[in-house]
Subunit: 120 residues, 2 copies
């Protein structure tokens, strides 16, 4: 290339400086996937509801199911998704297993999302 900034692949404004700056500020690919995975966990209304319930109080599986009017298996599957994402933790008390939130950022994340929806 004759000119350092001449790397124009198409219509746009691309030049090597810009591409370099974008690459530098872009998180690693692995992290971007993790990020999408995390958001995808929040991208289901059942899981959002479970989290809202847990904002109030720790709760056993069958009480969550009762409150959300869904069957136990569905809740259990979704709790596993939340647990795998390290968003909830649990403790056993006899036959009962109590779930609670395991992340300090979720409330703020939800508040930000709400702010977008309420319009900003």
């Amino acid at each position: 290339m004759a000119d350092d900034k001449a790397k124009v692949d198409c219509c746009g404004v691309i030049n090597e400086d810009l591409v370099k700056r974008i690459s530098e500020n872009m998180p690693d690919d692995d992290l971007l996937y993790d990020m999408a995975d995390l958001f995808r966990v929040f991208g289901d209304s059942t899981r959002v509801k479970i989290i809202y319930v847990l904002f109030e109080s720790e709760m056993c599986v069958c009480d969550i199911a009762t409150i959300l009017n869904m069957n136990q298996s569905a809740i259990s599957h979704q709790l596993r998704v939340l647990k795998d994402a390290r968003l909830v933790k649990y403790r056993r008390d006899g036959k009962t297993i109590y779930y609670s939130l395991d992340d300090e950022h979720v409330k703020q994340l939800f508040d930000q999302a709400m702010a977008h929806l309420m319009h900003g």
Copy 2:
């Protein structure tokens, strides 16, 4: 029911006070769905990457495609999803259409998500 607090449907700690408190603090169903829909938009790595690119600079469709090494159609489809969610806006300049972010909360949302991933 003989007792006000006797509404125990299963194993758990459910009583009317708790259910009442949870219902009061739970956003409306419509809003919960909107919330999940919003998060689902972020739940795809292509869209996350597009947003990170747009954190740096407004950008035309084909430059985004070039940077992300994806085809123009895929980017265009995803930009539509982002546009429908009011997360990006665009301006036309001749044949070229420049996209940019249209939300002040997204950066904070992403920072919170990153904080969770980096572990907190």
